[in-house]
Structures are given as structure tokens and as C-alpha cells.
Symmetry: C2
Subunit: 474 residues, 2 copies
């Protein structure tokens, strides 16, 4: 070990959270250190949000051919997909996105260390046999896909995760997907649309993180026209010479490859948390305040996937900024976390905004429902399938949350998120203009259906002008 | 003339506004009369919003083939479009939409008269040689495409409007489009994408109703890769044996057909307005209060396209409801009109929300700008082209309006419309969650760019928790 170097702030991890923290830190000091282990570039850009969206875009473009005949476009049958080329583009554009996350390192090379850091105390770390101390330490070490121990021995050309999926030069004919949360749903549908036979398994009854059974069932029914889904079943894997055998209850199916998408675990193990003299829970996690990013009452902050909060880019970036801000304040500041928002980029899109149904007291709320099966704009575009449920406080009409699987959900979820973040009543939302013909008219139907069930007086969407001098008719 | 029949309310016109009024009227009386001239079904469903969207959907689906190669989809060249089939589907689904607007007539056949009504006084009308009187009259006679007198003689297989375009069994090779407002832009692009050679003319410098030159120029540049555009030029037409000659300044071009899309005029001429003893302007229009729909101080209400306000379905429906409500109140009630919202379903989408740039005092506002040319999600989907401008009050940061031509504008315009209708400051909007990767991140960039230019303190998007007991570090 070499001599101790003293820094104001050390950031461990150069992903989304670490880089968001870095931006805050750089505003106040040059005496910082950024340490990164493993490949540079964020989880999002390398193996998460971006390559998955690239695969989905190609898959959806190809899948659209099934509507061509009805539109009056001929010879759709002659289209074919070149999987190696699809995957090559995914990597090519992915690399572009990664490179844009790397620009931040230009000019700060002397403050960046590549290596595996470990906490050796509340203000000290070791990396590559060097010791550093810092006033504050930010841990933003990210996460990795969960692979159960018993599956670790399966060769990694047969057992894929999102770390390896996008590196494939081609895809085999039959792939099992284990886990139907956001990643599982997105990749299962994309692979199926690209011509892979997909058999999917989840131990959950509901899909895509939904808690509203009707919405989940609607999504499931749609997806089942594209690939096979087994819910409420625990899958087990056995490596074969030629592939993998998946067993789940009475089901046994041999596939070429398996994509394991059962979640991600924070990279906090072997980080030296046991050196901090703080309590750890049974998963080895310390107490991290989600509003401050601080660990217990010590000068260590954990942000991003490492904190095991919602592993969603926009929340992870917030955590990084909160941590980067709080390392410079004597009074640690707490921030209100944003309105919850989760989107699954399936077709139809799936989204959850605000409170989930499972979190609400059903006695005090009403559910406004709208079907998109005959929604005008969706029908014009041959995308008329789906449902939206909005949850309103029965007494006040306040918008509490929504779950939906419908076309354009990724957009309407944002409008609803703004409404919830502003604590709006359904009547206030309905006073906004809704153009025609748009998918948002379906959202309006759900809101109106909810309004009818509340205790509020029903009336025009439009408010009377207070200032108007009304005059009697002649 | 037969004897006088007395009604509580007479509604003239069974389009969107008339039917919205009807719904209100039916809640309070059975003694009403609905009179309709010309084809049943709304302008929107018959010849407007819906058939245009159907044509656009087919056109966009076919146009997408240019991205197939980059996605890794092969043989896009073998796709072809069958125009008669495209048009047949447009009519088929259009008829479905029209039929759904006709359900309202079921059971009220005895209250509906087909014929041309004329006002004979403030409370009397004539139709089919019958006279009726009513306590209140609602005029919702709609609008029709403007065709200048000098072009009226051109045969209507050569001079098309939206009344006739969708009735075509096939389309000719070269079509001129006159006028590049919403309808002109939408149809010009759709026709071009379906393989028709399109040459477009507008006397305006800006397209699609935009008032922000940068946004319009961006749209124009994009459209010019698909068809020829001549701006700031007055086109004239001359019928030829084989088609039409279009002359505009130095330009002379022979085409097979012309689509005239220079606007719509209210159907108030020959309605008997001169019998009402009220002032008419030089266009023959009476004074109609947009907040009450009332004509001057008489018991006549004009709603919908006939009022010559924004001829947009959602506004027209509001006017119908306002009129339908006000025919039953002793004190005419004024309603706040909704936040302005206009969308053009071009690719990229074009939208205007709130105040237009041309309506704002540029000394007191700032323009937040974002380009979509390298926006992550748009790039993943090969739709990365466009720009969004948001207009903020410089002092307060209040969101005043926005003009944009970018992917997903039709959705983001709704989120911004909610923000404007709630009179939100840019910081309040930025406190909402924005998922990743979504087009809304481009909207956030525009809002953040605007915020930087305001007089507001810049800070986190996230608000500090008021209730938090901050504790000093150890």
C-alpha cells in the first residue's frame, strides 16, 4: 500500500448516478476522485435502456408488416429480417450512445482511476493497492443481473442476460425468457417479433410490474398472440448438450438459449460495508435515506442502482444529484422524490403512474376505465387494443395513480404524471384541451368514467368565467 | 306554408356542434327539433379528421420502408402500394366512423327534419315549406371548403377538395396542393408518401399555421425531401384537356389534379341572418360571443364551424355544449375557453400550444429550444429530426406557449397544454418525472434551456422536503 491521499470527495462508480453526482461535485471542488471498475459507459447505454430500445424498434418495424395488407400495401410477405444485421445495428448505435456518456472524462483523466474500490472505513477506501481518504464518499457502483447460484454453471452461450444478449452475433431459433418484468416483457416481445420462437415463464401472476389484474390480463392476452407465456410458475434450468431444458411444474420444454431476466442486484457485496460499523439488513444492505442518499449518519452516500431503490434511469440520476449536492452541505438536505413513473416499452405500451392499485385503499377510491379496442385514432392506425385505468380519490376526485396497457401509454403516462405531481383533481385535468383524433381521447374517457363515480358534482369540463356579467335574454 | 309549430329549441345542423348541443338539450326537454341539410354524419368523420388520418396512417406505414434496411429488414424494395385499395379502406373505416355518429338519431326520428332551414326572424325558421317557432335557436350549420369563384368552373375530377379527395377510386400521377395549412400539409405529405408526385403552393411564408419561423423552416426542410414546396406565392389555375396548369409567379407546372386546401368558410350565407335585425360585418358574420355562443343579445346561438372560430373538433364540440347549455338558462353563462391547441399530423408532427410566438411580447419572454436531431429515443427509432420551442415569461418562468415540429409532438403538446391550462411555472413542470428513453426528454431539454434564460434561480428539479429535520454530519 502506498501513502494516503486526501480528497474532498471520492465517487466510486462512473455510471449514471456517479456521473450525475460528479457534475454537482465539479461545481465546488477539483479535489475529487472518480473510481470505476469494469467497462466504462452507463448500464443504461451499454446494456439497458438503449440497446433494448434499439432491438425493439427493429422488431416493431418488422412486425408492422402484418398490418400492411389491410392498409393497402402489398408484398409484405417478401420482407425478411437479417438478425445478424439487426444485432450489428444495435451494437453500432449502442456504441454511439456509450461514447456520448464518455465525453465527461475528457480533461479529467488525472482524477479517474480504473480499479475495484473497497471501503476500509467511513472516510477511507483502497483501490489498486492505494489508499485514499475523503471528507465524503459516494458509492454508485450500480447493479448486475441476478443469476441464481444453481444456474451459474450453465455456459454463457446458452444462458443469456442483458449483459450478453446484445453481444450475440445471431440468435438461436427457440429462446426461453425467465421473468416477465419490464426487461423480460420487452425482450420476449422483441425476440418473438424478430422471428425467434419464445417461451416465457414468470413466477408472478401479473406481468410487467402491474398490480391491476384487469390491465395485466389485457396485456397478457395481447402478448400471447406473439409468444407462449407461463405465469405463476417457478422455472428451473438444466443444461443440455444442444441447449437448455426448462422445467416448470408440468411443463418441460427444450430451448436453444435462455434469457434470464429476474431482476438486478446492487453491487454492494464485497464493498467493505462491514468496515463501516453500521447495521446491515439480511441482504447485506445498509440503511440508505432515499431523500438524502445518506447511509445512516455517516459521511457515505449511496446512489443509483447500488441503493436498490427503483433502478430506473431518471430516479438513479436524481439520486446521484442528491448525493453530489449533499456531500457539500453541512445540513444534509432531503429532497422530495418525484411522482413514481414506470414504463414498459411493449406494444401496447405498459405504464404505471403515481400510486399503484395495490397501494391504494379501494374503499376510498374509484377506478375510471377506458378501452382502446375501438378508440378512433388507434383504430385508424390499426393499433386499437388496450385499456387504461385511472385511480381517483372518491371524495375529492384527486388523481392518485394509473395503470395501463394501451397504445401511446408512454406519452399519456407523462401527462398523468404531471397531473399527479401537481396534485390535481380530475376536473382540473379535464379542463385541458384534448385534440381530435388522438389517443389522449381514450385517457379522457377513463378520466370522465372516473369522475362519474366520485362524489363530485358532474358538469361541463369548461369552467364558467367568474368575471362574466351575465345578462338575461330579451 | 303550413301552420306554425312551436318548439322549445330548434337546432339547425346535425354535425359535431349540433349533436353536442343536442345532448345538452335532451336533458331538459323533448320539445326540440333537429334540422339537417346535406349528408348526415359530421364533417370530422365524413371528410375531415378521420379519413385524413386513415390516409396518413397508410402513407406513413408505407414510407417507413425507407428505414427498413438500416434496421436490418430486407427486401423493402418489393413492397408496393395499391392506391385503389388504400382509398377503399379509407372509405370503409370512414363509413364505420360515420355510422357511429349516426347512432344518436335512433329513437328520435320524429324530431329530425331533413331540409334546408332559414331564419325568418329571431324565433322563427322555415324548412321544407314548414314554419317553426322556438324559444331559442341554435345554428350549427358547419362549413365547407373555400373554392374561389374563378376556379368554380374547373371540373371536379380535376379540382379536388377534402369533400371529394377520399371519394377518388384512384389517384393520378401528379397532384398540386394549394394551401399548406393543416389540411394541405397533411394531405400533401400523405399523397407524396403514397407515390403521387406532389407540387405544393402557399401564399404564406410559414407552414402549418406556425408563427415561429425557425420551427416552420425546420418542418419545411424536412417536407422538401418528400415533395416540392413553393411558399410566398399566389397560385392560379387553368383547366387543360388533360389536367390543370398551375401558375405562380415564374413557376408554371402542369398537373393531373389539384387539391385546393386554402381554408373553410362557415355555412351562414343564405341562412336569413338579414332577417334578424342585427349588425353583420363585411363578411356577413354577426357578432357571436365565443364564451356564450350567443348572437348579439338575441335568442339565437351559433356554434361550431359556423361561428368561424377555430374549426377544430374539440373546440366545436365545446361550442355546441355551451350553446346547448345556454338555451336553458335565464342568465346566459360564459365559459372559459380551453388553452389553445392545434396539431398537424405531419411527420414530424407539428403542434402549437397556448400563445403563439406571434402573440407574445418578445421583450418579456424567453425561448427555450431543443433539437431532436440527436435525441436518443428518436435516434433509436430513426425519427431523429425536429425542434421544439417553448415560450416562458422571463420574470416568472410561467409557461406561455410552444411551437414545435418534432416526433411525438401530438403527445407532448398535450402535456404542455395541461401545464399551461394550470398556469404552471417551468420549475413546476420540471418537477415531474421524465422517463428514459423517451421523446419527452427532448421537451425537458427545451424547458431547461428556457429556465436558464429566465430570471429564476436555477436549482435542482427536485424540491427540498419542507418537513425534513436536517441533521449535521457527525
Amino acid at each position: 500500500m502506498t501513502a494516503l491521499h486526501t480528497k474532498d470527495v471520492i465517487i466510486i462508480g462512473a455510471g449514471t448516478a456517479g456521473l450525475a453526482a460528479l457534475k454537482q461535485v465539479q461545481e465546488l471542488t477539483d479535489n475529487y476522485l472518480l473510481i470505476n471498475d469494469g467497462p466504462y459507459g452507463t448500464t443504461c447505454a451499454r446494456v439497458g435502456c438503449m440497446p433494448s430500445k434499439l432491438l425493439i424498434e427493429a422488431a416493431n418495424a418488422f412486425h408492422r408488416r402484418y398490418q400492411f395488407d389491410e392498409f393497402g400495401i402489398e408484398n409484405a410477405d417478401s420482407l425478411s429480417v437479417n438478425l445478424p444485421k439487426v444485432l450489428e445495428r444495435v451494437r453500432h448505435v449502442r456504441d454511439y450512445f456509450v461514447s456520448s456518456t464518455l465525453r465527461v472524462f475528457s480533461g479529467i483523466e488525472d482524477k479517474v482511476i480504473t480499479g475495484r474500490a473497497r471501503l476500509t472505513g467511513k472516510r477511507t477506501i483502497s483501490v489498486n493497492d492505494q489508499l485514499f481518504s475523503a471528507e465524503k464518499i459516494i458509492v454508485a457502483t450500480g447493479s448486475r443481473p441476478i443469476i441464481p447460484d444453481k444456474w451459474q454453471s450453465i455456459s454463457n452461450d446458452k444462458l443469456l442476460t442483458t449483459d450478453t444478449l446484445f453481444e450475440q452475433r445471431d440468435l438461436k431459433s427457440h429462446i426461453a425468457v425467465i421473468g416477465l418484468g419490464a426487461i423480460g416483457i420487452e425482450m420476449a416481445q422483441a425476440l418473438a417479433r424478430l422471428g425467434v420462437k419464445v417461451t416465457a415463464f414468470t413466477d408472478s401472476a401479473l406481468l410487467a410490474g402491474l398490480t391491476d389484474e384487469e390491465v395485466s390480463d389485457k396485456l397478457k392476452y395481447s402478448l400471447e398472440s406473439e409468444f407462449t407465456i407461463h405465469t405463476k410458475t417457478q422455472a428451473d434450468l438444466e443444461e443440455l448438450d444442444s441447449g437448455v431444458r426448462v422445467t416448470a411444474g408440468d411443463i418441460e420444454v427444450n430451448v436453444d438459449q435462455v434469457l434470464v431476466a429476474i431482476g438486478r442486484q446492487p453491487n454492494l457485496d464485497n464493498m467493505g460495508l462491514d468496515k463501516l460499523d453500521i447495521a446491515l439488513d439480511d441482504k447485506g444492505m445498509p440503511d440508505i435515506d432515499p431523500n438524502t442518499a445518506q447511509v445512516a449518519d455517516i459521511p457515505v452516500f449511496v446512489a443509483g442502482d447500488a441503493s436498490a431503490n427503483a433502478m430506473l434511469l431518471h430516479e438513479v440520476a436524481d439520486e446521484g444529484r442528491i448525493a453530489g449536492h449533499n456531500v457539500f452541505t453541512d445540513n444534509i438536505e432531503a429532497y422530495q422524490r418525484r411522482t413514481p413513473l414506470a414504463i414498459v416499452f411493449s406494444e401496447p405500451n405498459t405504464a404505471l403512474v403515481g400510486s399503484r392499485l395495490s397501494e391504494l385503499d379501494t374503499d376510498k377510491m374509484v377506478i375510471g376505465k377506458a378501452s382502446f379496442d375501438d378508440q378512433g385514432r388507434a383504430r385508424a392506425g390499426l393499433r386499437n387494443y388496450g385499456v387504461m385505468h385511472v385511480y381517483l380519490d372518491k371524495k375529492s376526485g384527486r388523481l392518485l395513480g394509473a395503470e395501463m396497457s394501451c397504445p401511446g401509454a408512454e406519452h399519456m403516462a407523462h401527462t398523468l404524471a404531471l397531473a399527479i405531481s401537481q396534485d390535481l383533481c380530475v376536473k382540473e385535468v379535464l379542463a385541458m384541451p384534448i385534440y381530435h383524433p388522438v389517443l389522449e381521447e381514450g385517457m379522457r374517457s377513463a378520466l370522465r368514467d372516473g369522475l362519474k363515480q366520485t362524489d363530485l358534482e358532474q358538469s361541463f369540463d369548461l369552467a364558467r368565467c367568474d368575471a362574466f356579467n351575465s345578462e338575461a335574454l330579451d
